[in-house]
Amino acid sequence: MKQKLLLLIFFTAEIGSAGAQGVLYKKTDTVSAAGTAAQQAEQAAPADTIGFVPYNALMRNSSGAVSLIPARDAEISPYADINQALIGKATGVEVRIPSAEPGKRNAAFIRGLSSLMLDNADVMNGQPTYVVDGIPLILDHPFAYDIQRFGVNRLGTEINLLSFLNINDIQSIEVLKDFEATAKYGPLAANGVVNITTYGPRAGKLRVSVNSYVGYALSPDISTTNAAYERDFRLPFYQQYASTGQWQNFPAYLADSTRPEYYGAADWDDLYYRNAWSDGIQAAISGGGRLANFRFSIGQLSDQGVADGTGMNRYNVNFGINIMPVKDLLITTRISAATINRTRNHFLRDRISDEDYVIDLETPPSPNKAILQQYYDYLADGIDDNKDNTIQVMANAQYTFSDKWKLNSRFGIDYVQNFRDLFIPSTLGDGNNFASNFQGLNKRLVWDNSLEYHEDIRDAHHFGVTLGMYTQWDKWSYNYGKAYKGKSDYIKVYEQFNNSNNYQLTANYKDILQSNLASFYANLDYNFKEKYFLSFYLREDGSSDIPAENKWLFSPTVSAAWELSHEKFLSLPSWVNKLNLRASWGLVGKRLPYDYYNAGPVYDVNIGWNGTPNVSTYDAYPVLNASYGLGYITEGIQWPVVEQGNIGLQAGFFDKRLRLQVDFYAKTYRDLLLKVPVMEEHGYTGVVKNGMDIRNRGYEVSLEGDILQKKDFQWTAGFSAYANSNTLMALPGGAHDITIGDRHLVVGKPVDDYWVLVNDGIYRSDEDVPVDPATKEKMSYQGLALRAGDPRWRDLNGDYVIDERDRVLKGSLSPDIAGSFTQTFQYRNMTLGFLFNYAFGREVINQALADRFDFANREGADDLTGVKEVTYWQQREEDYESIPQYNPWSPVQPYQANQTLFLQDASFIKLRTVSFSYDFRGKWMKKAGIERFRLYATADNLWTRTPYKGGDPEAVSYFGYDEGDYNWGFPKRFVLGFNFRF
């Protein structure tokens, strides 16, 4: 069948190929397949197809719940990182990008949350495993947060490690979700797997491909303000509520309207924002003989941010080689290296966090361009080198010593260096300079050996057995040094542990974390006549993070599939071309985030206090104390596990013009570690123990149809939806609920709901405040009697005291349902595609709005809440009318963020991408030796519809709080590019 797959699409309706057949070979090593299969695939692609590379059955090393993002999508929509490429294209994946700052780390969650979402460490520990050609990437570890007072950014570069791959080197991205697809990754699969296959070496004539694009992003449209606007905003509050003392504290910069710095021109945006360019170029060459062939590619990318002079640059090299030194022995190696420079933002907040020093916040930045220019000029005198280098090496040897036996050995290294040199000149730090130096290292070694055997009996019974051993060594380390008050602004570099005469106030830190994993696995596959499929995966995993008595975890998974369309007796109607039913169940371990859980109670160095967390000595003597801050670590900690069941259906109807994939799943994380608050009278902040269970349940649907299939014109439409709901199933020790920070966790409820007070308006007068008939006392907020101008919060338990017991769990950032629509039109050589994505039932706390009203507590405050950025001086499209005019000075904190007043619906529909491409075809190309020549134009983020008033509904923190100017939405971007291969 000549089926032209028009895939500007996202989903895995790869039904045409024998998906089920893949099952048998799924344990065929990805990597060994990559060389051969990729070359077959490329060779198989006739020059006149529009570029879609048919997905070879062998390549489909996994079936099951998988979302596939084909290469073509990535090629014409060039993103600098993998997670962005998943948005709207993979079901079951929620990507959270708090800021569109180029090259900055972001997050993706596959099938819901694998833990609580309380801090940045939880986000980092909840990430899927990204596997590139069989090597699982090592990501950054949150341990550096431990020495930070303000964890705005993790120490180091905060460069997105998923930006290292050049999108043009990628042949496919698969999101693997159920255990049928991921069992082979064992504990690495606990949060799902994103499997990336790059173009490998190929045999044949030399082939050169060149891909390049130029993009242009538009600066946002804002209206700036000066102090008059802010004064007008605040005056009504002052007039209504302020006491003499409060009037006296009216901020000086707002009071004096003759000061041109604040009451003059508000033209900061001219300098702050720009229309930003991005560009990328990549060239690859591949070829060689059957016994030795190679691929080499080199690429560059630069991406400017629209705001604050941010940007990133990446250079990468990729070299792959296949050789067959003796018969039946195939050796594949790939080395790739990349370097990224990221120019960071210049937020005061981030700088305070980096310096661990709160500068004078009483005078905010001026809205004036000249003053902003001066600020930038001062910064230019400093240094902010922010660079990651990475090298990945993969070597695979496969020996096929009969048609039934195969031996495979793979060795991989992933090595990431982070460097940051920061120097802030004295002009910016209240007269004092600051220097710091960070050198971080992530290192992963993997070694995987397996023996495979397969047997076909009478062409009906197919058996496959794989036995193997996998080992992985992980190490994270860093050296960090900082120094305040250097004598000279000309000495800009600080060297750690090196007493320099220039710096006297220095502090140096060093930390190392190691985590090793060893696994033995056995896989058993069976299929009967390509109709019934059965597979077992049995593993024994050992982790260095687990105490000796529980070190090894046995984890089984089983999967089965039934190819109904191959059943004669069912006599399916002829329009049913494909019907495959599959189910899988199993459990795998989930690795622990730290190495100190393996020995029961511990001692560490933690004698700091709020504001000064890093003191390690008393009167110059080093200390070692029981782990009060870390929590009491119980003996005998066990492996947390994730148990997942999945039922799925793949179907093709009407000559496979209508394609459907449906999956239902229940995924339960059991025995997760949690620091549970404990009686305080032993000084511990909590007890760390197993026992938290979180269940994610949901479904994923993808439907795609070729609505029109004429010779010259094709129209394909797609729709996808996924829903996930998480529930806290158990807490350690059988507790029913706990409160951690501003989150409250109740068994049976979602783990990421906000915990809010319910607003019912305002008390206009003291008399309006209800009085408890029993005690004759007025309704109070935690014991403070409510008064005129205070919010009327709902007293849910009727005890006339508004407190924690009157808070409700409501709303969460996780959408109830999300997905995408696509439309693809092809007319002759032209293809036009639209990608919409949507999310409904998604709520955000509009912190930025709350903060604006909460000026009384934040003005000049001596911590991060007192920070104002230059972006403060702009008008916002908020719904101010809906916010009552409370007394902002009231000690009941009327404008605290966690109340229903600021809980807002942030559902959205976005037109994420519109793309147009033109593929040249014809005899002249063949003559000229050109295999592919495609021009394309893509536009991103053109249109959004949302009830949310606080800006881009997706630009919020990982935890669902809109931090206003700190969360940059993605700009509208237009890209022009070409793909060329000859």
Binding site: R149, Y357, V358, D360, Y399, W405, S426, G431, N432, M469, W473, Q504, L505, A507, Q514, N516, A518, G542, K551, D595, Y596, N598, A599, G600, P601, V602, I607, G608, W609, N610, T612, V615, T617, D619, A620, Y621, V623, L624, N625, A626, Y628, Y632, E635, P677, V678, M679, E680, E681, H682, G683, Y684, V687, Q782, G783, E804, N857, E859, D862, P891, Q893
Partner: protein, 499 residues
């Protein structure tokens, strides 16, 4: 076929060695934390474990300037410029909803220090057997210091919360709940600890006492004076414990014992200049011989500085620290009212910018030379707990209460003379004398975290604050217990006034 066999053999061998090596690769101790069985093995462990007791005590007092939130703010001598949380403390709205307020209500940090003391008391005696370099006598000295710290912590907590749970053993991981203990019982234990510590502590760390022969931990006296607990510190603590219990006979006994041993303690009354100058009393270690009996120290040269945790953060402003306005100040009228005697040297040393709207409290200004010009907001002043002048005033109070008026006046006049005041004449009544002592304490100890406890102890809370006599009887003198503590330990009850 042989080739295959070789490969299979090779593979199995690989698996075999893999199995063996796995055990090794999976057995790596954390480099970030020390497993409990590996602690308390060596001399260094003992040092680190006992220093941690001081360190955690410092953390408890420095956290959000707790020492002053508890001891100073409620006394109303200081006024607040704008911070809502400080205002709430001054107004005695101790249930207000501020992050800092949660910290002040919470006693976890105190119990962390106490638990560490309990651990050290249990484990230190085991160390000499394990490490011959750690002699039993050195262990006894460390142990005595730890007991002194624990005694101090319980005394300190009783003044804040009244009845507090009495925990004397380290956690064994079971975390059974404990009740609040009658505060007299708690002080009994504190006194017992202090007395036990007395025997093994030296008067001075000058290497010339049998309890600490030679340089303690290789450091000269200047490293330890006023910092490591000494016999003098313990006597001072005991005097205060009994004073708080209104057992003035016992209190006086310890006051006398301390002062009679001046030749041993080497404590001296300091001049007003010494008290207030840079690198004077509030630096502590440079001020020898001086009057600091016990301080929680910040050793600047070892980067023990903080960005919060000292009063200076609240009271200073430009040009000493980069801050336009301080959080706290003393109103001019208040100053003139308190320092109403002309010859008082303290007024001009304690305050500058008198004619500003917010006069600056300038008694504590330990802005180290390293962080000046231009200033950097790092504070290194010691949290001074006990000093010698305060002991004279304490003895004066005890003597007054016991009817020894003349002796009391003499003590009072000793301090007054040091500050340029004329001696108190005549024979005042007991009440007059107590008022004079309270007033002298107010002047001498201003900003050192005594005022609130003095008002409580002298029963003057209603006169100086917005709390009524009834509120005081109801328990308003104590802080509420934090929600977090109450929630985790159902056997706890909230202080009556804050229910």
């Amino acid at each position: 076929m042989t080739m295959q066999k070789i490969f299979i053999f090779f593979f199995l061998a690989l698996l075999g060695t893999g199995w063996m090596s796995c055990h090794k690769m999976l057995d790596i101790p954390s480099k970030r934390a020390v497993a409990a069985p590996n602690m308390w093995q060596t001399k260094n462990d003992a040092w680190a474990g006992s220093s941690a007791c001081y360190g955690l005590a410092r953390a408890a007092l420095a956290n959000e300037n707790a020492h002053w939130a508890y001891g100073e703010l409620r006394g109303h001598d200081f006024a607040v410029t704008s911070r809502g949380d400080l205002n709430a403390v001054v107004d005695n709205k101790l249930t207000a909803n501020y992050a800092t307020m949660d910290e002040w209500r919470d006693w976890r940090r105190f119990y962390a220090a106490i638990d560490q003391c309990n651990l050290a008391i249990q484990k230190l005696p085991l160390v000499p057997e394990r490490d011959y370099r750690y002699s039993t006598s050195e262990m006894k000295l460390d142990l005595a210091q730890v007991r002194a710290v624990r005694a101090f912590l319980y005394y300190y907590m009783v003044r804040i919360w009244g009845d507090v749970p009495l925990v004397t053993t380290p956690s064994d991981g079971s975390f059974g709940n404990v009740q609040r203990e009658d505060w007299h019982k708690v002080l009994e234990l504190a006194a017992e600890d202090a007395r036990a510590a007395f025997d093994d502590l030296p008067w001075r760390y000058n290497g010339k006492s049998p309890e600490a022969p030679g340089n303690y931990r290789g450091q000269a006296e200047s490293h330890w004076a006023g910092i490591a607990a000494s016999k003098g510190m313990v006597l001072t603590l005991l005097a205060h414990i009994y004073d708080w219990e209104e057992n003035y006979t016992e209190a006086l006994k310890y006051c006398d014992q301390l002062m009679d041993n001046q030749s041993n303690t080497n404590y001296q009354l300091v001049t007003t200049d010494q008290l207030t100058k840079l690198n004077g009393t509030f630096k502590g270690r440079l001020d020898i011989p001086g009057g600091n009996i016990f301080q929680l120290d910040f050793n600047m040269t070892h980067t023990e500085y903080s960005t919060t945790g000292q009063l200076e953060d609240w009271t200073l402003h430009e040009p000493d620290i980069p801050k336009k306005e301080s959080e706290l100040y003393v109103e001019k009228d208040t100053i003139l009212g308190i320092f109403d005697e002309k010859s008082d040297q303290r007024k001009d040393k304690y305050f500058i910018n008198m004619d500003d709207e917010h006069p600056e409290f300038y008694k504590l200004k330990q802005v180290d030379a390293l962080v000046q010009n231009p200033p950097l907001r790092f504070y290194t002043s010691a949290i001074v707990i006990f000093r010698y002048e305060e002991m004279y005033l304490l003895r004066a109070e005890c003597r007054t209460r016991l009817g020894m008026t003349l002796d009391a006046v003499e003590d009072l006049n000793t301090v007054r003379a040091k500050r340029g005041l004329l001696p108190m004449n005549g024979t005042p009544s007991q009440d007059e004398l107590l008022d004079a002592i309270l007033q002298e304490r107010r002047r001498e100890l201003m900003g050192e975290g005594w005022r609130w406890y003095d008002l409580v102890h002298f029963k003057k809370v209603p006169q100086y604050t917005n709390l009524t006599e009834e509120a005081v009887t109801n328990g308003a003198i104590y802080w509420p217990v934090s929600k977090a503590a109450l929630e985790q330990n159902p056997m706890l009850t909230q202080n009556s006034f804050w229910k």
